[in-house]
Amino acid sequence: MIYDVIIIGGGVIGCCIARTLSKYDLKICLLEKEAELASGTTKGNSGVVHAGYAAPREYIKRNLCIRGNKLYTQAAEELNFPFQRIGSFVVALEDSQIKVLEEQRRQGIQDGIPGLEVILDKEKIKYMEPNINDEVVGVLHAPTAGIVSPYEMTFALADNAATNGVKFLLNQKVRRIKHQDYTFTIKTKTQEFKSRNVINAAGLYAARISKLVGLDYFEIMPRRGEYILFDRNALHLNKILFPTPTKVSKGILVCPTLHENTFVGPNAQNITDKKDISTTEAGLKEILEAGRKLVPNLPVRSSIRNFAGLRAVPDTYDFIIDNTDIYGFINIAGILSPGLTSCFAIAEKVVEFLELLGVELKIKEDYNPRRLKPERFKDFSKEELDQKIKEDPSWGRIICRCETIPEKEIINAIHAPVGATTVDGIKFRCRPGMGRCQGGFCRPRVIEILSRELNIPYEEVTKRGEDTNFLIAKTKDLTLKEIEGGTE
């Protein structure tokens, strides 16, 4: 079988492209090297849907961001992923910074960003965001900026794409691509796939994939950003808070999440190892100090987790969105920030490219743009809950106490169109282990449910795929081995 389109990479970009193309009568497959989708950069970022005033005008990412922001309204509605336009503040703490804000506003308005305004009235600022530093002198308010849960959104995109016929294959690391007679042959460790067109959305590894077809014209370097996440209820922010930008970066922000937590981060460290998502002592200090400048009462004692994500920084510093010289091979590379914001606009570009390549884009008769919202215990009224448990008792078995997640939500996550197969997969889909106890109690239960639903032994359940097994042996195994060894 020959696919029309193969997408390499199951991050938000790959999944968004898959979902956008699933509208058309095409044979599509997405290959992801990890055991779960959204395992790369998509898992570790700020989740801010930027308004679009930040990037310089000469970069294509500026317009894609502005367009992408607009497209979120419809997408969130169709796909039912959590998204809120809470608005952002760029915070000036010194008078000299006001002119930076004024300039961002002026250009932003010219480029069609709605509602941008510079607020200098301190009382008004404090009213809109009581936690802001008292030394604030002004802010740039962008009401269209929003927050999203990047991985929940990615799962929504993938589930909807799968419902519309896209095939998702995990644990498939692309190792070789052969190009002959307008057909690409893609090899992974275990399988071979053929396709007319290939879309490279491999994130940090996009340059490597591009080189597999002989296209060696860019490099991607990892730039790490670290975060600290605070407990729910520790602080309630209304707005996303950015410092006034310097030439180097958009800076370290303090931001609420859709799950009522708050985080501070990211910093920016150029590193060489594309797998190094470790956090550092110096880095955690740095972000706390920076965060305190925006919100002096950061609830440091209520931190529940630290993590890091890697930006895929191309040597051009701009998105690489190319219908390349190799017919049918599309590069979507170097998708650093604001890639998450831009994804729907990037997917539109891909559709244009395929049209140029002569791919017939006929809308499927049975295309269903909707994904139902996953049913959540917390969203039910008391009566509904009672009814649900009567219909299916697993609604009444609470697995995660911190977040009140019943067994049924976990079972649903496993049996979703692109279902979870690992403990992290479950955690990112329905949050057991995300709360205060970080899995202290529920992890054994989740392992048990995965083992049962996937019909695999307990010891084979992993944290996030190959080589991340949780448990080593049954008790008594080690001692038995020693005894056996001793008698030899």
Binding site: I277, S303, R305, K382, T468, F470, T475
Partner: protein, 432 residues
């Protein structure tokens, strides 16, 4: 919706919940115990080591043996309980909502409620260890559950961070199973658990204890490959150049327990700085008729103390239902109890003026170890009410004081009393 009624509802069936329920039943009131796990007993069920019951039964029992004695009484007294049922909400008129997979949502009306939800362990995030986030990082209690209840070993070679009791007990337990415990690493200059555990669990098995060190980095992307430990100074800042690498495939955290108080907050009761509810000398929270005891109030090191505290909570709930429920609550006059020098927290947080003639049980923990100290109670006008000598104090051992404030001549008009643990001014030969 299924409905229940009882005079007193007990949430949690650990050592605290069971002892409280038994007291209520003995006073001929109706009581119902609600437990989210599949069996009665709480955390003691996984504590298969001995060391329980020395005070309560004057015998050395294992956790399950200790709790079984209470479970037997529950059965003898025919105290009703529901298992696999989690309380998810407490409304301000003392209605509870709970769920389980047989009955669906359950509504329960009570005259008084006893909160006995226990505590949970602090995790890595709470202490912000930098590094990767691989498989192979567990809290000590989680590992204890895996080994003792589920029958699985979570690793081969271990480093344990934190010298809390559970960590030390697990060091020994894992050694018995043939695992290698490379070190127990403690950030403080001294062990944070009980001395008896240091001797019986670490020293007897030659498990190295490294104090004034902490884990500063976790290595390994997929599975833990090792940890870097570093010496810390007095402010717990890393001393540059002191790093050491220890190879291991599992890191256990034994870095403290936090009372489990989501429901308490949900009921509208106030919490104090130790993480437990604010209580008066009757273990009543800031909401009339809601009482609390056990680890949800304060983390206890000995189960015997939990049982004793729970009995008082049970008796006080009975008193409430019999005498105060249905009556308009008159505004309580209280005296606040404040933590002074070297006092981390003290319970109760407040004392009812009408109870000044009664013996009040104070429990407190110190911030740092000290020898030859004086524990003093002074009122807000700096009048000394009570003092007691103690040879030594350490944070891992809860200090209990029983004081009759009236007999000690407290000024009934005072607003607060301050409790402090200070070095003894004069060197005394004779001890308490």
């Amino acid at each position: 919706m299924k409905q229940y009624n009882a005079d007193v509802i007990v949430i949690g069936s650990g050592a605290a919940g069971l002892a409280a329920a038994i007291e209520v039943k003995k006073a001929n009131l109706s009581v119902l115990v609600i437990e989210r796990d599949k069996e009665l007993g709480g955390i003691t069920l996984q504590c298969i080591h001995n060391g329980f019951g020395l005070k309560e039964f004057e015998e050395e029992l294992t956790g399950p043996e200790y709790i079984q004695r209470f479970i037997n009484q529950i059965k003898e007294l025919e105290i009703p309980y529901i298992l696999n049922t989690m309380v998810i909400e407490i409304s301000n008129d003392k209605k509870l909502y709970a769920v389980n997979n047989e009955d669906g949502l359950i509504e329960i009306k009570a005259k008084a409620i006893i909160l006995a939800m226990g505590c949970r362990e602090r995790t890595r995030g709470a202490i912000n260890i930098p590094g990767f986030r691989p498989a192979g990082i567990y809290t000590a209690g989680q590992a204890q559950r895996f080994v003792n209840i589920e029958g699985y070993l979570p690793g081969n070679t271990f480093v344990i961070l934190g010298s809390g009791d559970i960590g030390m007990i697990m060091a020994r337990r894992l050694t018995w199973e043939g695992c290698k415990v490379k070190a127990v690493v403690e950030i403080l200059p001294y062990v944070s658990g009980l001395l008896r555990n240091q001797v019986q669990c670490l020293e007897d098995y030659d498990i190295p204890l490294i104090t004034s060190y902490t884990v500063t980095k976790i290595h390994g992307r997929d599975r833990v490959k090792g940890v870097t430990i570093s010496k810390v100074d007095r402010n717990f800042d890393r001393i540059i150049g002191s790093d050491k690498f220890i190879e291991c495939d599992t890191l256990l955290l034994s870095v403290g327990l936090i009372p489990e108080n989501e429901l308490t907050l949900n009921a509208g009761a106030e919490l104090s700085k130790n993480g437990g509810p604010v209580v008066d000398n009757n273990l009543e929270t800031t909401i009339a008729g809601i009482f609390t005891c056990g680890n949800v109030l304060q983390v206890h090191d000995l189960v015997d103390l939990v049982s004793a505290e729970a009995k008082r909570a049970g008796q006080n709930a009975v008193e409430y239902v019999k005498n105060r429920y249905d009556k308009k609550s008159s505004k309580k006059e209280i005296i606040k109890c404040l933590s002074g020098e070297n006092v981390n927290y003290v319970k109760p947080d407040r004392i009812n003026k009408r109870d000044l003639s009664k013996d009040i049980i104070f429990t407190l923990r110190v911030n740092y170890p000290d020898r030859r100290v004086l524990i003093q109670l002074k009122d807000n006008n700096n009048n000394l009410i009570y003092k007691r000598k103690k040879i030594y104090v350490i944070p891992s051992e809860m200090v209990e004081l029983i004081v009759n404030l009236e007999k000690n001549g407290i000024d009934p008009k005072c607003k607060s009393i301050n409790i402090e643990v200070i070095p003894r001014p004069e060197v005394l030969i004779e001890e308490e």
